[in-house]
Amino acid sequence: MRRRHRAAAPMLVLLTLALIGVLYAAAGSATSAQASSDARGANAELIKQGQQLFAEGCSSCHGLGAQGGPEAPTLIGVGSAAVDFQVSTGRMPLAAPGAQAPQKPVIYNDEEIAALAAFVASLGPGPQIPTDEEINYQDADLAEGGELFRTNCSQCHNFTGEGGALSNGAYAPNLMNATPRQIYEAMLTGPENMPVFSNETLTPENKRAIIKYIQHMDEQPDYGGWGIGSLGPVTEGLFIWVIGIGLMIGAAVWIGARVR
């Protein structure tokens, strides 16, 4: 009887293994290909939805391809962060041209905003909407945030973020209603007169510190009593003349009438 080759059994095992491996790999790659094509489909779906919404609500000014027009700037390359900021704060769609886009009630829901953002992001690379991790400011340094805020932001937004005037009717708004995400996006995209604070100028860590400081000021009690709007000496002066001098004159008249 002809003896089988000594190596036959191990070969077989190897072959089997190889076969299983190839099959497995083929099957695996097939599932992953399936998954990625699914994602592309969903994203494309989102972008399509965004394109639709954009055509309805935004194209009248920004143009169908978001290329801009006489009324509005191009949105190619502004990134999803800009769209999320502009739409979630109610600035866009703009109601009427003016010195500055005012904040209005938001008319799109979160999903629609994501769709608009995805559409604009698909047109060209730009700053992305920050992830939850990027805006998680719990461990940020509060004091550093204060320092950075006073150096970079208070000249326009006031020392407590109450807002301030810029030239020709423009203004830096009150920051107390902005969410951490919106604050982050504002810094990334620099809406209107606000400068862009890219990740090179202010690192994500710096940004989180600033967010923490802004949130803290919102929650901080007025240590000295009523803050009179936290607007500084102007309201203090008004207060002393109306309330202070008012009370004093009242007392003087009362004493004057009391003497006889």
Partner: protein
């Protein structure tokens, strides 16, 4: 011997040697007239005392040093931040010293009240003509007190070395630098080198707690002594003349009133300091030359200068390579200087124009000096416009107005609005005077219409009360300066003709449209008429009164008794 007797002996011993009883009788019974507007000066005095006392408390903890330290304390948002010792000690006063924040707020609200009280006190003095001879000196002292208040307040505001302090000092440095030729030297001298240096806070500290409080204290003392010596002015009324003072004795009535009022002022200041924040230096952060905040403003009393700076067009001249910054120099240095000087010389200026060299102890009613009242209103509108301009950014954001629009409004308004206010105020005064004259000539309108037998309808007029008449008749008519003659009787040219002519023209302008008081004869006929009309109408008025039993005047016997008790003291010395 009882204790009382012993005390009496001691008192007699002292009195025999120092004759204090006589002095006391003379001075403690001194009569002061009564009116609520006479209490503004007291308000200023009491708030100064409050500021003084709270300031002493602050000195116990405040460290006037610009040494850099790292904060690690109660106010966590500043932990680990470098700051000056001055700022750190102010944080400590606010957060760690018992009652410290309250004291800081009392000190600062008190300072604002001090200057605000001086301001309304000065307005009262101006609009009633209380600054006229012989009180010009006291007016001057008052202006100096106000100026010192500005400087003292600014120095205090700069002490905590927070972001607003430093910003204010930066502006002060800019104003120093804008002075042509010597500006840079002055700035280097003041700051001991380049701004901000490390000396300025300790220098300011000496000025703030010693030098200027000392000057203010001295000026206040002089101010009070002069008031005491010259006696207080009074409003016109029945029995009040230029030669007497009608009112109550200092002891006990005024002592009680003044003491009570001090506690009221104190109470109001502490109340405000308890409920309202002022100068939250922890929010501003320490001063860093590279930081700035929107809403950087000085305290209100410097706000008008800030407004002048903000409204000024950006004018500069370059002469031989040196820039003269009119844009800072004019609003920062010239406006303040010129206005303070105008205020100081005003009493003499007015006397020169009116030619009025008499002493005045009876106050003017503002309507009876229409030109002065109009000048005052005009100045106030000027001041208010600058003050609004100083807050242009806050007003812009709060009322949604463009900051540029506000600035242009101020630039044009500062030239256009004050003259309009002048004209309107003068017209209002003159028509009030006309109404007064009408009352003198025809009596008070009773609102009762009567039909005469021949069918005519007339309104019944009642005679004025003695008091009303005295008030209206207190108006003093003065003839303007005479037009000078070009040559005298001998035909010699008068060398000062041109100058005199100019003053005379000013004087005639001052009195334009004066509504003369009725002469004695006119008044007598008028009174006859009024009596006649009142007598004619008496039955009707009586009839009406009987129809309206609920009407009528409540008679208050206590008030009548008090009136009879009023002291009257002659002015003569």
């Amino acid at each position: 011997m009882s204790v009382m007797n012993k005390l009496g002996e001691q008192a007699e011993f002292l009195d025999d040697r120092l004759t204090v009883a006589n002095w006391g009788k003379r001075n403690l019974r001194k009569v002061f007239p009564e009116h609520w507007t006479f209490m503004f000066g007291e308000m200023a005095l009491y708030s100064f005392i409050i500021v003084l006392l709270s300031g002493i408390y602050l000195t116990l903890w405040f460290k006037p040093s610009m040494n850099e330290v790292v904060y690690n304390g109660t106010y966590t948002p500043l932990n680990g931040i470098e700051m000056s010792e001055a700022y750190k000690s102010t944080l400590d006063i606010s957060f760690d010293v018992r009652g410290g924040l309250l004291m800081r707020q009392i000190h600062h609200w008190g300072a604002m009240l001090f200057i605000a009280s001086m301001t309304i006190h000065m307005m009262r003095v101006f609009f009633t003509g209380a600054f006229r001879k012989p009180r010009e000196i006291n007016w001057t002292i008052g202006v100096l007190l106000l100026t010192m208040g500005f400087v003292e307040g600014f120095a205090g505001y700069s002490l905590p070395d927070d972001l607003l302090s430093g910003t204010g000092l930066r502006i002060a440095e800019g104003i120093m630098l804008s002075i042509p030729v010597v500006g840079t030297y002055i700035s280097f001298f003041a700051f001991g080198g380049e701004f901000p240096g490390d000396e300025f806070i300790s220098r300011l500290y000496g000025i703030h707690i010693l030098l200027i409080p000392g000057i203010i204290l001295g000026l206040i003392t002089a101010h009070m002594l002069i008031v005491w010596y010259q006696k207080h002015t009074q409003y016109p009324g029945k029995g009040k003349t230029n030669d007497n003072v009608v009112g109550y004795p200092f002891m006990p009535v005024y002592m009680a009133k003044a003491g009570g009022f001090f506690f009221i002022v104190f109470g109001i200041t502490v109340f405000l300091s308890g409920v309202a924040t002022i100068n939250p230096i922890w929010s501003y952060g320490p001063y860093m030359p590279d930081q700035i905040t929107a809403g950087s403003q000085p305290d209100w009393y410097m706000g008008w200068l800030e407004g002048a700076l903000r409204a000024m067009p950006n004018w500069e001249t370059v002469i031989a390579g040196h820039t003269i910054s009119w844009n800072v120099f004019i609003p920062g240095a010239i406006v303040l200087g010129v206005i303070i000087q105008l205020m100081i010389i005003y009493p003499w200026l007015e006397a020169k124009v009116t030619g009025d060299k008499r002493e005045h102890h009876l106050l003017d009613r503002p309507r009876n000096a229409p030109t002065r009242t109009a000048i005052g209103a005009m100045s106030l509108s000027f001041y208010m416009l600058l003050l609004i301009g100083g807050g242009n950014d806050v007003i812009g954001t709060q009322f949604d107005i463009s900051i540029n629009a506000i600035t242009w409004f101020i630039r044009i308004g500062i030239i256009v609005i004050p003259p309009i206010v002048f004209v309107i105020t003068k017209r209002i005064c003159l028509s009030l005077q006309r109404a007064d004259r009408e009352k003198l000539m025809h009596g008070r309108e009773t609102g009762t219409i009567m039909r005469l037998p021949h069918g005519e309808f007339i309104e019944v007029h009642a005679p004025l009360s003695e008091n009303e008449k005295a008030v209206i008749l207190s108006k003093t008519d003065i003839t303007p300066l005479p037009w000078p003659e070009k040559t005298d009787a001998d035909g010699v040219r008068d060398p000062s003709y041109k100058k005199d002519h100019r003053w005379a023209r000013l004087s005639h302008w001052w009195y334009t449209d004066n509504i003369a008081k009725p002469t004695a004869a006119e008044l007598a006929t008028a009174e006859e008429h009024i009596r006649h009309s009142a007598a004619e109408g008496a039955p009707i008025i009586a009839h009406r009164a009987s129809l309206e039993p609920e009407g009528g005047v409540l008679h208050d016997p206590a008030a009548a008794a008090a009136e009879a008790e009023e002291g009257k003291e002659p002015v003569g010395k």
